[in-house]
Symmetry: C4
Subunit: 225 residues, 4 copies
Amino acid sequence: MTIAGDVRATIDGLRAQLVVLHAELPRNNLVVWTAGNVSARVPGRDLLVIKSSGVSYDELDAEAMVVTDLDGNLVEGSRSPSSDTAAHAYVYRNMPEVGGVVHTHSTYACAWSAIGLPVPCVLTMMADEFGGEIPVGPFALIGDDSIGRGIVETLQHSRSRAVIMKNHGPFTIGRNATEAVKAAVMCEEVCRAVFLARQLGDPLPIAQQHIDSLFHRYQNVYGQG
Amino acid sequence: MTIAGDVRATIDGLRAQLVVLHAELPRNNLVVWTAGNVSARVPGRDLLVIKSSGVSYDELDAEAMVVTDLDGNLVEGSRSPSSDTAAHAYVYRNMPEVGGVVHTHSTYACAWSAIGLPVPCVLTMMADEFGGEIPVGPFALIGDDSIGRGIVETLQHSRSRAVIMKNHGPFTIGRNATEAVKAAVMCEEVCRAVFLARQLGDPLPIAQQHIDSLFHRYQNVYGQG
Amino acid sequence: MTIAGDVRATIDGLRAQLVVLHAELPRNNLVVWTAGNVSARVPGRDLLVIKSSGVSYDELDAEAMVVTDLDGNLVEGSRSPSSDTAAHAYVYRNMPEVGGVVHTHSTYACAWSAIGLPVPCVLTMMADEFGGEIPVGPFALIGDDSIGRGIVETLQHSRSRAVIMKNHGPFTIGRNATEAVKAAVMCEEVCRAVFLARQLGDPLPIAQQHIDSLFHRYQNVYGQG
Amino acid sequence: MTIAGDVRATIDGLRAQLVVLHAELPRNNLVVWTAGNVSARVPGRDLLVIKSSGVSYDELDAEAMVVTDLDGNLVEGSRSPSSDTAAHAYVYRNMPEVGGVVHTHSTYACAWSAIGLPVPCVLTMMADEFGGEIPVGPFALIGDDSIGRGIVETLQHSRSRAVIMKNHGPFTIGRNATEAVKAAVMCEEVCRAVFLARQLGDPLPIAQQHIDSLFHRYQNVYGQG
């Protein structure tokens, strides 16, 4: 398979964008060493762009981003794609509205993953961003579609852009890669704040109609029109 | 409404100051992504200067600061003001001694907010800065005067420059914006230290007359004359 | 009182050294805003050099360091000395072997201060540096010799270079200011590690003869001859 | 003993590499002040390269790295080798497959060391990197072969590249120094995440066959072929 001329510029642009977005992961303390990856769907094509496997965050450049089809087969690039590519690809195949996916092993989300409980919605910023609790996905092994299926089945029953896979860590989605990175940052932040709240006492729930109101407003009013 | 020539320089100065002060929020780990905002009253005018909504901390400049009246209506600037402007404006309308307001979702303050308990005064630095416990304000939804009213009603019965709004996060005030930012930094720091103390055991209270003595001295003696 | 010519160079050197050492406090996350101070005794003179009060860590320079006598009276410099100068001065008057003193409100040490318990010696690095537990000093108000006396009386019965003053925070000492800063860094580090250990379970004590052996070796063998 | 010409370049290369790798320790928050050290075996020779004792991380250069034989005797360099050299040397003498060793006092690993419990394998990244729990080694005093023997005896019964020595801290190994540094980074990260999980509740174990599967895959498939 060769890249048609008319998507050349799009892919080059996504590569450049992913270099910048990957740098947000260590900057926001979401990853150590080479862990974590961000991908973007190539709009209108059955292709995605993702980090190659085991690359240092000091060596991130456009060359470190590779193109695969939506079965995870390498289409362009000289390096092996991230070992999590199958999970990203499954999400793109099954959630057409998703344009970006992020996976990290951010520490507080991993702590919640190890006990297998959803993060309750007890802060307005959580209602704003996630529209409710952050759900837990099933335990799944790497190597086939298990992780991707677990992500999709969990997120399809939730407004949340984040799912915490049991004993593993968070995956986040967005209409584009920037939104997915924002969700990864906010996911770790609320995992941390709610962790701390639980150490202090019993967090106060927010009533469902207030969660709905906050989520609706934030998704439609916040930011620059 | 147009900005009269004689407040032009004042507003330009406040814009420049707010760029510097907003940079203190990520530097002191009080915010992630675009959360948080600092405002300043325009002295002698029914105007305030505040960050526009959803701006990245990498893109902070004087243009990102907008001017509104004390009902939160945009007076100068091409962007939408912070979605928290109504709360800031309410404080300025009702607390004439206040010249600066800060709102963050700093993590430890949010943890206290989720359990809805005031932070007890168990450290001398807390007595110095806040003159006692940091009080909790009511749960309030964004969109009208509820948050502003909750802030004002809580702070009017306290010496504290910080209030932690339930399930939401901290607001701090000062005679000017710098004081309000300092209060935001100190609020998170004492929320963190007292959180940790509570994990270790039962924090020892400081006697009221000692709190009074520390607060009086710090407000009147500390710093350069 | 004027500074004799023969101590001019010594004082200028100490000022420069204190600029560098103060920068270690924010770098090691021991302070926020303007909190914290380092002082050095002027060898052979009844003088000390210390940070002036309420100075930002961004504005540290030799001018921000002032000289006082050992009663805390300003001898040289145009700014008010740190509000903690009386405590530093008391230590120098009463512990002739001390050449440097540091005070911070580092967070984990403050947490221990709020419950008023010594930090037990359960790590070899703690035996190395402190020769046993870090003791707790009495609650004392600022404004007279109470804090200084509490520091001295506590440290005179301990091998530790750190004392945690109740409801307040740590003071550390050293033969010179660098040693005192190192003790401040290590104090916060062990306060944090032992805090965490207590959350996990019951920390295992180290036998007294092993503590003695580690302390003796570290004080005499470690580093470059 | 003199360095034969044919290992000159090898040793110079290892020195340069160790400068870079030591910088990873403070960057990943594994050390404070002068604590921590990385060593590398000189391939095919009974020699190792290691940091000298008590050197500041601001002053790391090739000169700060010294060469010793596998009994810890200085062979090349003008400074005293790290006080932990005997432990490193013991590992190289007894584990011929090891090419790099790291020792830190990273905070969360120290917390686990103080309670003397192994870190249970409850996260897939832990199965990937360590193949199971991180074991605890015995309490041992510095000064003879006790620490080295404790490390070797513990690691010989484990797939883990990390051991947490009781009341002391972690040692990690690798086929080369880079692998040992990676293991030190991952050790602290999983000590932190599992600490947090235990505060939230009872971490869910991962079944042994899943741990085996994850470990096998990560050791053989991850990264660039």
